[in-house]
């Protein structure tokens, strides 16, 4: 019933965006759990196959799995796309680590421009996903996989199932994008109760010969029963190739219009090029150095060759202004490069080449299941066993994270352990704070002399040794310029107030003074002799004071 306001072209575009967004989301998540560093190159000229203007490779089997799970549907209310990341030890124990959920709710944003704003926000959301996938606990686990465990993924569509994550799991929201048909939400629920896992003990054992990325349709069995059967056999000539449906060849050419601002031009074209014949690649490579990479993935290097540009490099100079001073008011300024470099020439678009490369690298496999890790070596290795629980350096220390962004802590507790002062100070919602915020409204520079100077000479400082006094100067309130009271525990004002009236030196009090005076008088001749010896040094020092 909500579709009447949306033009049919917009609706088609929106559906396409959501579909490809879902596919790219899966790619980002799975690639972030492969255990290796990802690197793709920027290309100043659009290649036409980079959805959302981001260079995210498509691992064909992952796309295939995702499409299978979606079965032609799109995320909708009650129908979420979930990517489940789990860990499986060489002994067959497995544990769910994370569930990434792409959901749709009913909250619609009718005003939003589909082919412009929605598209750009989906791009931003993918960037956020790239960032967030590196900060959940499973990332570090996945980087160390191969020795005693592997990381697996599973895609399903439907209702989100979080029960496998154990108690007290945490949720992090990656972001949301409003669309005319609903709001897309991307989030991750992750386990924090990793009681029997510790990354430290996974150092000593030889690698398991197995596959990093595995996937299976049904839920994994918690016991050590055999994994889902696989059809992969090393070295076999297998002619099957992933079905390249017509939409796997769709390229996305986007162009945006700025004048008039409301007009957006968006075209999606289908590139028709023949499916390359399947190529059989090498036999299973024995994993080296304990890194068990799957056959397919090790041959699938993320090489990205955009067209070269003949643009001269900008000359960037960095003038640095330095000024110190009592108030440290002048920031050291580096001017970032902001000069015009002009728009580089647009070379021809190698759109089809990139796409075709990907398909050629696809390892032909019959079906999508790999051999489970059935290492004969596991019996020989002393590895993870239940008795090792006691040896675990408490993994809670490693993996427990607070995901409370807006927790306000008392400022005085500035210790390394809980130094956590997020954006409360400058939240734009609180107008009051913003008005007091010197970043937004810088305090006016004092017209009179710096209050610090004045107050050093005020009658309030009885222990002052400067000797200059302005007896008529009475200090009412002390607010040194450019000094904030409420961030640092000890700022200029507080410092001054605290040390304004220091206690008398004990040596100046009568009783103690008398005692030590006698001692001093006795040692005086000795001291004088020493000083006379060093008279030249003292003279030199006095010279420097002139």
């Amino acid at each position: 019933a909500m579709d009447t306001d949306l033009s049919s072209q917009d609706r088609k575009d929106l559906d396409k965006f959501i579909k490809f967004f879902a596919l790219k989301t899966v790619q980002v998540i799975v690639q972030a759990r492969l255990g290796e560093k990802i690197c793709t190159r920027s290309s100043s000229s659009p290649t036409g196959s980079d959805w959302f203007n981001l260079a995210i490779k498509d691992i064909p089997e992952v796309t295939h799995e995702a499409k299978k799970a979606l079965a032609g549907q799109l995320p909708a209310v009650g129908r979420s796309m979930c990517v489940e990341i789990s860990l499986k030890t060489s002994e067959g124990d497995s544990m769910e680590l994370e569930i990434w959920c792409l959901e749709m709710n009913e909250k619609c944003d009718k005003e939003i421009k589909v082919s412009y704003t929605v598209y750009n926000r989906l791009s931003l959301l993918l960037k956020s996903l790239l960032a967030i996938t590196r900060v959940t606990p499973a990332y570090r686990l996945s980087r160390k996989q191969g020795h005693e465990y592997v990381i697996l993924y599973r895609i399903y569509f439907g209702e989100v199932q979080l029960s496998g994550l154990g108690e007290g799991f945490q949720t992090v929201r990656v972001g949301t994008v409003g669309t005319p048909v609903g709001t897309i939400t991307l989030s991750c629920a992750y386990r924090i109760n990793l009681a029997f896992m510790s990354t430290r003990q996974f150092e000593r054992t030889p690698p398991i010969m197995g596959i990093i990325i595995d996937h299976f349709v049904d839920r994994p069995y918690p016991s050590s029963s055999p994994m889902h059967p696989c059809n992969y056999r090393a070295g076999e000539d297998n002619g099957a190739v992933y079905p390249s449906g017509e939409d796997s060849q769709e390229v996305c050419t986007t162009s945006f219009s700025t004048s008039p601002p409301s007009q957006c031009v968006f075209t999606v074209t289908k590139a028709h090029f023949p499916t390359p014949p399947p190529v059989v690649t090498d036999t299973l490579k024995v994993p080296m150095m304990g890194l068990a990479f799957s056959h397919q993935l090790s041959s699938f290097r993320f090489s990205y060759q955009p067209a070269a540009l003949g643009v001269g490099s900008a000359d960037m100079g960095y003038p640095v202004l330095f000024s110190g001073g009592l108030n440290a008011a002048h920031p050291h300024q580096l001017i970032g490069p902001g000069k015009e470099g002009g728009v580089p020439p647009v070379p021809s678009q190698p759109a089809h080449g990139t796409q075709a490369d990907q398909e050629r690298m696809c390892t032909p496999l019959d079906g999508v299941h790999y051999s489970a890790a059935t290492p004969s070596s596991s019996e020989d290795t002393e590895t993870v066993s239940n008795s090792s629980e006691g040896k675990c350096a408490s993994p809670h220390d490693i993996f427990i994270r607070k995901v409370g962004a807006f927790v306000n802590k008392p400022i005085n507790q500035v210790t390394m352990a809980n130094l956590d002062i997020p954006f409360a100070m400058f939240a734009p919602k609180n107008v009051e704070l913003e008005d007091n915020d010197p970043m937004v409204n810088p305090p006016e520079s004092p017209e009179t002399e710096s209050p610090l100077q004045g107050s050093l000479h005020s009658e309030g400082s009885s222990g002052s040794s400067t000797g200059n006094t302005h007896d008529d100067f009475v200090m009412i309130d002390f607010k040194p310029a450019f000094s904030k009271d409420d961030i640092l525990p000890m700022d200029l004002g507080t410092f001054y107030r605290e040390f304004q009236n220091p206690p008398q030196l004990s040596s100046l009090s009568i009783d103690i003074g008398a005692q030590s005076m006698a001692e001093d008088l006795d040692s005086l001749p000795e001291k004088l002799a020493v000083h006379e010896k060093n008279v030249k040094e003292f003279d030199a020092f006095v010279e420097t004071l002139q």
Binding site: A131, R143, T258, A314, L334, A405
Partner: protein
């Protein structure tokens, strides 16, 4: 309100609302962790605030290039982050962060300081006035350098700072997700007032990096002593 659109509601040509969005992050790190921690935060912000290169065509349409990304592992922190694939941008940030780190280590510093990343728009003014720089987003990272006594403390610090940075990344992403004011997408003649078009591979919004070292006394100890002695002798 403007929340739903990435364009400012004000009529074109008028300055955007003067509310510069400001976010503050705080970290306590060991000296050798300063650079990596700063780079992680700055790169994460710039990942979200960079687009592909614009290519303007006829009739005011434009297409956008592709942004690549790569993982960066930290050596002194148990942490990894993603940055855009642009060596020029990485060099620029490393240079700024290097200077900040040196200043933090310099004399007169208590090991406290802050580095700021400001996004701004340029507004051309007529002669004799120079162009205005109007900030629309300001990220400030306050740093407190701690000194650790032994290797065990350092190991714990590696992990703790890694965890803290994870929280900061989540915070940054939360802010980015608010979809608040972003400069309107510019026409070809205006693009250099909004974006930094000097890089080869990516196009960040115009930005400035500056830093400040917090110095509670303002001057070094030796100079103060000299001044006091001088004043005393002058009596």
């Amino acid at each position: 309100s403007c929340a739903l659109s990435s364009r400012c509601c004000a009529p074109s040509g008028a300055a955007p609302a003067m509310n510069c969005r400001a976010e503050v992050l705080e970290v306590s790190v060991e000296g050798r962790q300063v650079e990596e921690a700063m780079l992680a935060v700055l790169h994460t912000v710039l990942l979200h605030r960079s687009t592909g290169k614009f290519h303007y065509k006829k009739e005011g349409t434009y297409s956008i290039g592709t942004v690549g990304t790569q993982d960066v592992d930290c050596d002194f922190i148990d942490f990894a982050y993603v940055r855009v694939s642009s060596e020029e941008l990485d060099r620029a940030l490393r240079k700024a962060v290097g200077e900040f780190k040196d200043a933090l280590r310099g004399s007169g510093s208590d090991g406290m300081g802050q580095i700021s990343l400001e996004f701004y728009q340029k507004k051309k003014s007529r002669w004799p006035f120079s162009d205005e720089c109007i900030p629309w987003e300001l990220w400030t990272i306050k740093v407190n350098v701690v000194n650790l006594a032994n290797e065990q403390e350092r190991q714990i610090c590696r992990e703790k700072v890694g965890e803290k940075l994870c929280e900061k990344i989540i915070n940054i992403v939360e802010v980015m997700n608010r979809h608040e004011y972003l400069p309107k997408m510019p026409t070809q003649s205006e693009v250099d007032n909004v974006f930094d078009t000097s890089l080869k591979e990516v196009q960040p919004y115009l930005y400035k990096i500056s830093y400040q070292i917090t110095d509670s006394l303002g001057t070094s100890v030796t100079t103060t002593m000299r001044r006091l002695i001088k004043d005393t002798l002058a009596l």
